[in-house]
């Protein structure tokens, strides 16, 4: 346990059992992009029983389409059913789980024993993965869930590498851990700020993210909570907004630790985000496993991730308990270095014309970059742009507008175009 499968080819070590790269998808389009850009598995939410009630979420038919699409790539789909259910949420659970099983979902990600036990009984072919909402932080608890018959556990975000190694050493169960994306600053499942502040139930998908708000810190007394302000006029307010997680440079350690699944957060994120993050981690995992002993992180991978980053990032708990430098004060948001400007629908090799669906404003003269699983990133200047009817445009102004222009190098459907933010 705790070692990845490997073999030696001549002098060279090769890792043969790669960890699963697990990507989020809020709808069918995002699912297809995630798989196409290299995810081994995708997690999605249904209409019920999952957190993120604002994510697009899938109907059963859409799930079936997603499963069949993923199958062509050898990928699989998991469904989040990770609410802590109230009595009133029990209705329809069995039928729902049976439907997931029927359409070929591989497993569910679940926090509440109600759903675990119902799944074992009603839909026994589904794998059961324990959600991070259970805040699993030690190997004895991992062992407990192993004995309960679970195939996999998703660790608490507070678990570091040393702890993961001990878990792997002590318990033979698949371990999934987050490698990239936004994080809860509280122990997951143990925060009800949202319930108190806005009457939205954080543990049933209603979280209003009050941890990202600003507060004032006071020292109080029996009579008054606000006797002494612990901030000066020029001080930033108290904040507890965490930087996003980014473990790209720790992928080698995660692979060597034998972690089974590396998870990217973000069912609410755009296809550009999913495509960018998935393709970078795909490259890193593949490069490391092909030649672990000569592997080096390339600067271009880091730059690539910054093109879609909504917030500054940090390794969180991976090595240590994070300090103030891993939090955001004052400016909680951050602009990615690039905008997603178009999705390639088609490319004509004869005429070198791309047919593109516009996703953000661009105009002739702009320098744009293309990327995708079949191509190496390249940049070029946009020349004349036409609409579907062949009318020349001064700019591509309308979201989802179909436009055409000349691109020198070959493109493929679902390649993406982005533009640097000035």
């Amino acid at each position: 346990m705790g070692q990845p499968a490997e073999r030696t080819s001549g002098e060279k070590r090769i890792i043969t059992k790669k960890p699963e790269l697990l990507a989020p998808a809020g709808n069918l389009e995002k699912l297809k992009i995630a798989v196409h850009y290299g995810a081994d598995a995708v997690f999605i939410g249904g209409r019920d029983f999952g957190l993120r009630s604002n994510a697009g979420n899938f109907s059963i038919d859409q799930m079936e389409e997603g499963v069949n699409f993923a199958k062509k790539y050898g990928a699989c789909i998991y469904v989040t059913t990770n609410i802590f259910a109230h009595n009133e949420n029990m209705d329809g659970l069995e039928e729902y789980l049976q439907e997931l099983q029927r359409v070929g979902i591989k497993g569910i990600i679940v926090a509440d024993p109600l759903i675990i036990e119902t799944c074992k009984r009603a839909a026994p072919k589904l794998e059961i993965h324990l959600s991070t909402q259970q805040s699993l932080t030690n190997w004895q608890a991992v062992k407990f869930w192993k004995e309960e018959g679970l195939e996999r556990v998703v660790l608490a975000r507070e678990v570091g590498l040393q702890e993961m190694l001990e878990m792997k050493k002590n318990v033979d169960i698949e371990i999934e851990t987050f490698i990239h994306g936004a994080m809860c600053i509280a122990y997951s499942g143990r925060c009800v700020l949202s319930n108190h502040m806005t009457a939205r139930d954080s543990n049933r998908g209603g979280c209003c993210q009050s941890c990202r708000w600003d507060y004032h810190l006071y020292e109080g007394s029996e009579a008054s909570s606000r006797e002494n302000a612990l901030f000066g006029e020029d001080d930033s307010p108290f904040a507890m907004s965490p930087k996003d997680l980014n473990l790209i440079e720790s992928i080698p350690k995660l692979v060597e630790a034998g972690i089974d699944s590396l998870k990217i957060e973000g069912r609410m994120k755009s296809i550009h985000y999913v495509a960018t993050v998935v393709s970078v981690y795909r490259k890193v995992i593949d490069a490391y496993c092909a030649d672990p002993d000569n592997f080096k992180i390339k600067q271009e991978w880091l730059t690539e991730l910054a093109k879609c980053a909504n917030r500054p990032a940090a390794p969180a708990f991976f090595e240590n308990v994070p300090g103030y430098k891993e939090q955001l004060f004052e400016n909680h948001s951050h602009q990615a270095s690039h905008d997603f400007s178009g999705l390639v629908l088609d490319y004509d090799r004869e005429t070198k014309m791309v047919t593109l669906q516009q996703r953000n404003f661009f105009r002739p003269g702009d320098t744009v970059e293309f990327f995708g699983p079949e191509i190496d990133n390249f940049s070029q200047k946009v020349d004349k742009v036409w609409d579907e009817k062949g009318r020349e445009l001064d700019a591509a102004r309308h979201p989802l507008q179909i436009v055409r222009f000349k691109v020198d190098r070959h493109l493929y459907p679902d390649n993406m175009m982005r533009k640097g933010v000035s």
Binding site: L114, W139, A186, G206, Y215, S221, V321
Partner: protein, 309 residues
């Protein structure tokens, strides 16, 4: 006559035990920060022994082991549980399944109470933990009264709820107060962050003040008001909820004794004569309010509040 629930109180120190029993407490929840979360006071092993002795034959003593344990604390659990078993405590409160695993070996006869605070939200899951060995489940504070009653109706094990005091809204492993002070450039050692410091986060939009502190389990943020159900005990007692908790965290011993006495009176009165309780319940509420610190008003938590999602 209506069945009386256990009146469970969280004392600040071993010296509180005798006066609280005299005030009407039936049970105590005590412990130390290494194992337990958000305790009113710190009880060493010697203090636990004292508490058990003082309470012998008069009240029960439960010990909190409801922290989220990381690997480094696992080696401690076995020994602590063995100690608690030998000391004769009446139960151990846990949230982390690691405690079940350790208790099977170290103290198989010790009753276990399941309490994760936020995740005890349906009767099926309550019974699940019952099958795993729990004799009692502590329900989430974010449930409404109907949900609490429905859980009790379907529960195979005892059900505990909090009827009074502040409730926890948030726990982070991060040292958020220290991080903020460090970010501001203030010296950590000078700036205390413990419960004794009475720090508050102020939310300007809602004009609420949330108590906040740091300890070895991380940063804790508490509700802006105290739950107070003293005038709404009837439905809870009709439902035969097994235990009513008064949480004494961030309160004085004197407050706790007086509040316990008041709940004792209210519970006894309803059990004895429902009409008299209804006649007097407004007065109970007024007397409870009069005991509150100026900065802490009361409400009914989530008992009469709906949440959406």
């Amino acid at each position: 006559m209506t069945v009386k629930p256990e009146l469970l109180v969280t004392p600040r120190s071993a010296e509180d035990i005798v006066p609280l029993i005299e005030a009407g407490a039936d049970a105590f929840l005590i412990g130390e920060e290494t194992y337990g979360l958000r305790l009113a006071g710190e009880f060493s092993r010697a203090d636990i022994e004292t508490a058990v002795k003082e309470a012998q034959g008069k009240a029960k003593v439960y010990v909190a082991m409801n922290a989220l344990f990381h690997n480094e604390k696992l080696p401690l659990l076995h020994d602590y549980l063995a100690f608690l078993g030998n000391t004769g405590v009446d139960g151990v409160v846990f949230g982390d399944p690691a405690v079940i695993m350790a208790a099977r070996e170290a103290a198989p006869d010790l009753p276990l109470h399941w309490s994760t605070e936020t995740t005890g939200t349906n009767w099926y899951t309550v019974n699940y933990w019952g099958r795993k060995g729990a004799a009692r489940a502590v329900l989430a504070r974010e449930l409404n009264l109907d949900a609490v009653v429905e859980i009790k109706e379907n529960a195979d094990i005892a059900v505990e709820i909090q009827v009074h005091g502040m409730t926890c809204m948030f726990q982070s492993k991060r040292t958020l107060l220290g991080n903020y002070m460090e970010f501001q450039g203030k010296n950590l050692k000078v700036e205390g962050r413990s419960k004794d410091r009475t720090l508050f986060l102020h939310d300007p939009e809602r004009d609420y003040d949330y108590p906040v502190w740091e300890d070895e389990n991380g940063t804790h943020i508490m509700s802006p008001k105290d739950v107070c159900m003293i005038d709404e005990l009837d439905e809870l007692m009709d439902a035969e909820i097994d235990s009513f908790k008064i949480d004494g965290i961030l309160k004085s011993s004197e407050y706790l004794t007086q509040m316990t006495r008041l709940y004792r009176e209210a519970v006894d009165l309803y059990a004895q004569n429902e009409d008299s309780y209804f006649d007097k319940k407004e007065e109970f509420l007024e007397r409870a309010k009069a005991l509150q610190p100026e900065s802490r008003s009361v409400d009914t938590g989530f008992f009469f509040k709906e949440t959406v999602y």
